[in-house]
Symmetry: C2
Subunit: 727 residues, 2 copies
Amino acid sequence: MLHSLARRRIKNTLFLLLGFALPFFSQAEDGYKLWLRYAPLEESAMTLSWTNSIGELELFGASETLQAAKTEMELGISGLLGNSDFKGQSPIWLGPLDQLPPADTRALRDEIQSLNDEGYLIYRSDAIEGDPWIVTGKTDIGVLYGTFAFLRMVQSGELNPDLNQTIAIVSEPKIQHRLLNHWDNLTRTVERVQSGQSIWEWFQLPDYVSPRYRDYARANASVGINGTVLTNVNSNALVLTTEYLYKTAAIANELRPYGIKVYLTARFSAPIEIGGLKTADPLNAEVAKWWKKKIDEIYSIIPDFGGFLVKANSEGQPGPQDYDRSHADGANLLADALAPHSGIVMWRAFVYSHKNTVDRAKQAYTEFVPMDGSFRDNVIIQTKNGPIDFMPREPFHPMFGAMPKTPLALELQITQEYLGGAVHLAYLAPLFEEVLDSDTFTNGQGSTVAKIIEGEFSDVQHTVIAGVANIGTDRNWTGHPLLQSNWYAFGRLAWEPQLSSETIATEWIQQTFNAEPEIVDTLIPMLMESREAVVNYSMPLGLHHIMARGHHYGPGPWVDEGRADWTSLYYHRADEQGLGFDRTSTGSNALEQYSPTIRNQWSDVEKIPEELLLWFHHVPWNFEMKSGNILWDELGLHYQMGVDAVRSWKEEWESLSDKIDPERHHHVAVLLKRQEREAIEYKDACLTYFQTFANLPWPSKVEPAEHDLEFYKAIKRHHVPGDPSEQ
Amino acid sequence: MLHSLARRRIKNTLFLLLGFALPFFSQAEDGYKLWLRYAPLEESAMTLSWTNSIGELELFGASETLQAAKTEMELGISGLLGNSDFKGQSPIWLGPLDQLPPADTRALRDEIQSLNDEGYLIYRSDAIEGDPWIVTGKTDIGVLYGTFAFLRMVQSGELNPDLNQTIAIVSEPKIQHRLLNHWDNLTRTVERVQSGQSIWEWFQLPDYVSPRYRDYARANASVGINGTVLTNVNSNALVLTTEYLYKTAAIANELRPYGIKVYLTARFSAPIEIGGLKTADPLNAEVAKWWKKKIDEIYSIIPDFGGFLVKANSEGQPGPQDYDRSHADGANLLADALAPHSGIVMWRAFVYSHKNTVDRAKQAYTEFVPMDGSFRDNVIIQTKNGPIDFMPREPFHPMFGAMPKTPLALELQITQEYLGGAVHLAYLAPLFEEVLDSDTFTNGQGSTVAKIIEGEFSDVQHTVIAGVANIGTDRNWTGHPLLQSNWYAFGRLAWEPQLSSETIATEWIQQTFNAEPEIVDTLIPMLMESREAVVNYSMPLGLHHIMARGHHYGPGPWVDEGRADWTSLYYHRADEQGLGFDRTSTGSNALEQYSPTIRNQWSDVEKIPEELLLWFHHVPWNFEMKSGNILWDELGLHYQMGVDAVRSWKEEWESLSDKIDPERHHHVAVLLKRQEREAIEYKDACLTYFQTFANLPWPSKVEPAEHDLEFYKAIKRHHVPGDPSEQ
């Protein structure tokens, strides 16, 4: 009787639909594992060879760092080969060269000789009994870096498990200090980051140390990042109190095995705020004494403390100029106290004053270049990639190459303050690569920014590259699943500035998703064109700083209130004649800060790359562009190209719906849809606004604006994450 | 040759130490799964019986709610039995009674007849062919509640898989509206919560809907919570704008299948702030029209919107008194507009004014009781458990039982604003139970708070219980792994106010860890005594409101600045004669607000329970307590007992180190250590302070203070999470 009623039932075998249940509390593909997923390799002849090859793991030497390498190798291999019980023929040897069996190392010694202390060697040869896979270096940290490289190369197919010939892969970092800069406040808000709170749980520290810190360390070490500034450049002296130093030490302890040093931002007025002094004058003896004592205390608590990052006399931060002293006076004060401990000072060149009527783009150069030679050896001047502020595109900063006696650090922004926050896809490696490859001509042709920061043209003791982190407490770290790629890319370029964006993207995709050609081939073009798309739909042809005020999210070309150099009008200079900032000799002459080769090319409106045109020139609306279009129409086409690109990614991404786990696939799909909507808004807001100056018809190949200018001006975004005015 | 060097090697079989690797990116035991872990049952005869019993799952009926029940049953059974391929004899039938095969339901109809719409029946009898497990109810949501109950009972051993006799378990909620109140701001800060940001990602909504919302819904439904107020009572009118209503709708869509309605806080001045009106006067016709239109709009976007929670004319919030109107005028304004949509208004009774010189404990009663009978049927007056503000212990609020014509909601605080935040273990079910069981004597003996809010003594249309959530974005939701129990306990008591704290604790432990007797027997006493321990080491014997100012974390008996009723002195009244607040007829006479039975008992210093002594009496330092000790010594002993309890838990918890996963075990161990340290601080700060009045020797059985009073007064905590002054 019961079974006769089957037609009324929706009958399912138990667990048939368990796939539907998996999203609940599902954790496998929530993005937390970043590019360290170690998902099983696809079945293939090579994978089978790997399974047959990999045998015993033998660790030579003992340290926390080597243990970390061993643990990572176990985790990686067992994940990739989908098996945790290997009995292949070839052992893996992990250990620094001087711990490996001496007889065996003769063959390796030559390979490793010229490497620096962080370099690694991956070696295999049938000349060594048992054909072991050898991952080594001069130091323990080299072995850890080699371990991550080994696992990466297994996934990329770069390593062949079949022993045909001797394998000897060496690599070493070109820059000594490869740092993340966190703009994290002690309140756990994070300036300009939209992926949650600060991962540093100050209220819980030092008692509770989140397991997340170790995963953070692993991710950084996997790409060679070896330092992290925990706190915002808009700083709080509280972090220098003894209480907070112990909290910092607890973080440092977690990061140390992974070769990562901890740095803090030093608030210049700390001697007053937490030291009880009446002044922070860098030439005051009490002040110098206070800093010395404070720094000695720091090293007593954190013996391998890295040093300080300082933003002084910029955007309201205190600094030496409050006492009519120079930046050099300020930096040297701290440097002298840090030197006995081998600590460094990264002093930011990002200074500009609204009292200064000179073009903001010129001010850092004007202020710092004359001080070349007056800084201590352990002071590094940290310079943003461009002269304004992390715009979607800027020319390289003219300070690069202009201070030969001073080490310059390159500061890049991984978080997308002006490129759509954690919502818009913009793979930034092409931006970073563009900066690194920029030829300054300051030491003749080939004087690229990369070579300058690598110290090739000067006798500097320290080389530094810094990336402003896009990391928060969101489960997937970066909010947008695909923006994990920017953290990855920064680290890889910091290690090897000559790597191509595409190589990095390929590696990242292989590890973050998998190596299936459909995935790689679909994602590579999306990632590679994404930054240019953002440039196009927001600030093309050299336009800059025309975003909404405060939170900087979305368009605001009409912004005209507040200090002049925070308006948009200051930068785009639109009028009835044309558009753009004349920075040639007829204007602010910012071009005079560049080498003659650059200056000559860029001052000519016909020779300057069009992508920088409006940065340096005020150009008539009817100026004929290389395409034959007039400026106004060309501008419109760039906005349209940006929108079109995003639209095409939506379809491309959709085509991967059966290749990528549903959780990440859905998340990205939703974000791309929003990005398209907001790209259209940017296009329409900017073009309807600029049209009021151009007085020309809407460009024929550009989709009409959905609303009028007043509509766009009235849009008010609320509580945009990362907005410091809300923090 | 190679192998002869073995002594130099640390040789390990690959993956031998994989256990060490698991904490990396480990997700299994990070607490995210709450009490819905469904970890495999221990091997036992009963587990084997379950495996042999459970067969096909058959769903009768189709709805999102029933699908959710089915999915949960699959997830639960496959987890508990460690198997996803069952072929036992007895099917599970899931479906509402009217969808079950009619012939079979005759036997069930009687059981289910008297249940309300949310009730469930779990039934099994050999009278039905195939011996199916039947989980049913009158409605789909009853089936879902029954599913969670079924899974809970499998874990508790309450259900026996061996069919000895007919099983018929029925349950139904005693209170209609069982709500979480989130004190979450639109900025994603959360007032008084220390477990991360708000889980509501307003900037991402409505585009991206976090998978976390569904897990939140599951957790709530599993304990019968059927409503949630998304926003802080200190409210922001922005949430009522169209833009935010669509964001809210996206959340509502995720919660709906789990029977959870969404509510918002209504800012009384919204007609001015977002409506463009010049007034929010509740008797103004334009204002009434605006609210009607706004509420109609809400229901057009969220058809099952629950209603509003309002904090008006309290702590700076706008309200009807700004226009010389009454709370009834304000509440009825909203109620009239909500009524056509069956929405409700929960109007908070938490009002007190610093301009009012009357004892703060008396003000809500004084203001609201005279209005009894003047509220619309769909207005519920939401009253905190006690007359001050969520102290570790308060007497019940005198409004309970004093407004027979008005439904009163009980507001409990799950987050521990005054009980150690997310750091201190305080299992709150005993506090909640104490309140629910408090006899008001307002309708004779047995007029408990529980019965009053259940509507037993009045003809109310709505019954409500609310708990201020302790939930944030921390991976484990509540910061402290063991404080998940308070979310659980609130829900369970909201469903069944007569449940005992210990029963609830047992269930929670079984599901959150497992049912091993060592775990249950160790944790039960810890949990059960924890709230009393916090009372003892912070505010024993009726002391209250002597915490640090602002963030409310840690001791501050000396707080004497700012408005009087926010100082500590206002409440403890320590002087050379004694300690405590005289609320008898010789003092503020707050006791007059209680029924004669209570009043008579509590006004007598010999008859009042000592745990409330200093709440109602100013007692001489040498007053002889029941123990024979004088007050001063007894006070000291209570502080010491609190410390001693925490200390003992540390050892108890340590004894479970091989029973509980390392991640959660370590986390709790660290927190208990900190709790002990801070309990000692509370003891020493309060006793050194009160000693300056008592002028008596340190009690002999109390550990000496580690520091002097000035030390404790100088402690300044920075950036305490949940402090609204930082938000």
